[in-house]
């Protein structure tokens, strides 16, 4: 049952992305930005948390989930540690993902070469 919720939530978020890709002139990077920022905005409004409870990974794996983690981290850190949390919270919560993306990404880029089309 949980898997169905995950599937539907994740699929629906991706479907929104696909509709944006097909019907607007937005390019992929812009869509990524829109999704991350909207995840953060929804979290501030308190609307993303219920979605995460319902859809689990279906809500956290897509990019709005990244925005959600960033915003949630900042908000929690502010409540716990005060003003400095504004700056440290978001990055602390997502440090592992960003660290992996940069570190592993750099290594991958050094190892592989660009390929022509097949």
């Amino acid at each position: 049952m949980e898997y169905i919720n995950v599937f539907i939530t994740g699929g629906a978020i991706c479907l929104i992305g696909q509709i944006l890709l097909d019907t607007t002139k937005l390019t992929a990077p812009r869509i990524l930005v829109i999704f991350v920022v909207s995840g953060a905005v929804l979290q501030v409004l308190g609307w993303y948390e219920p979605l995460v409870e319902f859809g689990k990974s279906g809500a956290t794996v897509p990019l709005p989930g990244f925005g959600y983690s960033l915003a949630k981290g900042a908000m929690e850190e502010v409540s716990k540690k005060g003003l400095l949390g504004i700056l440290t919270g978001g990055l602390t919560a997502t440090a592992a993902g960003i660290g992996a993306a940069i570190g592993f990404g750099y290594i991958v880029a050094l190892i592989f070469s660009p390929k022509s089309i097949r």
Partner: protein, 163 residues
């Protein structure tokens, strides 16, 4: 003989206001010759692939929680790390663009799309060296995502202060 045929009056307009109107009219005109994307098929593929990626992530997370005895939050972080590394590896192997061509937003919108957006320009500009080539281009597409995301989190933190 076509000596006295008029030339089409497209694109010669200088007045910016009229130019804009004409551009819009021409865009509409050009649209009728452009095939439409296959909305239904693209949407279905995005939905299914996106859903499957999330389910896979959920399965791994459950496994980490059940067998490795990790907490939910820690397991979730590991899943993110694994997805990022997997997408970057697929990008390096040159398979990710084929997947994205099929699934579209189905693999662009999950965190895999973000990982791909980092590595792809870095590989591409490798010839420009490890610092300004790979190092700088790692952020050419994904940089804006991080900048906007982190800025949003800072704003969220500020809002939290006043709550």
């Amino acid at each position: 003989m076509s000596n006295d045929k008029k030339l089409p009056d497209i694109g010669t307009e200088q007045d910016p206001k009229v130019k804009k109107q004409k551009a819009k009219a021409y865009e509409e005109y050009a649209k009728q010759f452009t095939p439409k994307p296959k909305y239904a098929a693209n949407g279905l593929k995005a939905f299914v692939v996106g859903g499957l990626i999330c389910c896979g992530a959920f399965a791994v997370q459950n496994w980490l929680m059940d067998f490795m005895k990790l907490e939910e939050k820690e397991a979730g972080t590991w899943v993110t790390v694994l997805l990022v590394c997997l997408a970057q590896l697929l990008t390096g192997l040159g398979w990710f663009d084929s997947l994205a061509k099929f699934a579209g937003a189905g693999c662009i919108v999950p965190i895999t799309g973000f990982a791909n957006a980092m590595v792809s320009p870095a590989i591409e500009y490798k010839a420009e060296g490890p610092v300004l080539g790979v190092g700088a281009k790692l952020f050419s597409v994904a940089g804006p995502v991080l900048v906007c995301g982190i800025t949003a989190s800072v704003i969220a933190g500020i809002i939290q202060v006043f709550r």
